[in-house]
Symmetry: C2
Subunit: 323 residues, 2 copies
Amino acid sequence: MSRILCVVQDFLSDEHREKIRQAADRAGFTPYFFTSDQRDAAKEYLKDCEVLYANQADVLRDTSASLRWCAAASAGADAYCADPSLFPNPDCMLTVSNVYGATISEYVVMVTLELLRKMTYFREPLRRHEWLVSPPIRSIKDGDFTILGTGNLGRTIAARLRSMEARRILGVSHSGRKVDLFDEVLPVSQLDTVLPRTTFLIMALPGTPETVNILNRERIALLPPEAYVVNVGRGNAVDQDALMDALNRDAIAGAALDVAVPEPVPADHPLWETKNLILTPHISGNMALGYTRDENVRLFCKNLLRYANGDTPSGVVDRARGY
Amino acid sequence: MSRILCVVQDFLSDEHREKIRQAADRAGFTPYFFTSDQRDAAKEYLKDCEVLYANQADVLRDTSASLRWCAAASAGADAYCADPSLFPNPDCMLTVSNVYGATISEYVVMVTLELLRKMTYFREPLRRHEWLVSPPIRSIKDGDFTILGTGNLGRTIAARLRSMEARRILGVSHSGRKVDLFDEVLPVSQLDTVLPRTTFLIMALPGTPETVNILNRERIALLPPEAYVVNVGRGNAVDQDALMDALNRDAIAGAALDVAVPEPVPADHPLWETKNLILTPHISGNMALGYTRDENVRLFCKNLLRYANGDTPSGVVDRARGY
């Protein structure tokens, strides 16, 4: 029996499928394609498949011990790591797709400029057709930024801010290991000393037990009143109640959240009406950009050939650590 | 009698005034400082002044034939060139301050991303607290842009888009002369052949008779349905009625106007409710950014020393041409 590749994805074009077919052929795999609403039809193939290219973690429940590699189309591994029993094969390799930097970094630039240029100040007056004089604003050029998270996403954001002539970019990560593009990287143990001198905080963290509530009430209180906060990682990294309090009291200058708890944010949730908050419906890093879709498929095909050759694909996740 | 410098500006800090004082001292000038509401007190100094650093053209009416150089704090010369009788000395030199690139280019990046990422699609649903899935979006990375105007402003915008990995930047200018940062520059006589293949048009033109209504109804009709238009030059460069028609009919995908006719836009003007239009109250290039204010003073001081040494200051305007 030939080796089986199951693809359960909703975003693929005919061209994408053809690329995957060609790569599978070269790698010695027979590919079977399904969308997320064809899970019943997929079952008999999933139980025998060796490689799975998926965009939903619970597809794993239909796999068996024969699954050797699960290639997630997402950049985050949290949904795949939260419950170890998801993987019938405990030694199954998990990879994520680090292809969202282009779209997320452009989202970050957009909301960073919206915050620095005080667009929330204009929001209601513009709706009332009022032509206002601008209050003092700040710029990315010559600005200082702190990025929490120096992984693929944090680095892409740093590169973009650097290209726009940011003056100083400080990274904060688990290890504090120096990374190119950052002027300095400090370990998360020093976060409390970093926050009082942070005037723009960008959170680009994976969802792990360590990052839950990392920006808690005490830490939000350490930020100066001119500080802005942007979160494009996971919603549970921020104490939302404390953030809303700080914004509504002008204890910080503004924030942009593309992720929240829960998602979707219910219509009656106070986040929607929080002062100086830009709230968007998890649009920074999805499949809306063609580049992201193409790169996702390109990366999977490249990784499939590496896997078939006995090499390690890129994006391998330490499932115990969660990223 | 010592040579007189009159400064009529509202944005100066004590530090700025001190810098101007020091430069004036080195240049052999006695400086007199006024704000725009001190015009009566300024009169007796304006009539004898040789150099004027102003931010409103009609201050010129209080000057005399002794005025040799008017340094405008703005980047646009149109208000100073519209009426030649403004200058009591017909040979008076006029300079503008090309220091707005940093703030205007960040504004352009902001609204470009807002348009490409379909933020106008989310505008009303977000107000109704609706959490939507994103429609297909585009990015600056790998995107194609046409910039109408390759002067200081157009070049700064091109540099910023280039740093964000735009694929191709086409310039259109009066002369069609090649400029660094642009892949190609075409003369305005070829504009009609450029527009049908333009999917993002950025207008950064000076206000001159040649640029009035340059994007007229016929030319708007040449743009493809996926095209976006951004105008940060002068409002009268666009046929606003035709632009509103095109937007409301989905004949083009969206637009952002920071300049309009008239300004302020009256509360009952249809621009406010035009589909897929981002309208902002002339905030892209004012004095709201500290960098712009500092650079304005720095440039004036540098130019004052050049002038005193018999050299030509930067930013000299051909008053007959208007830029």
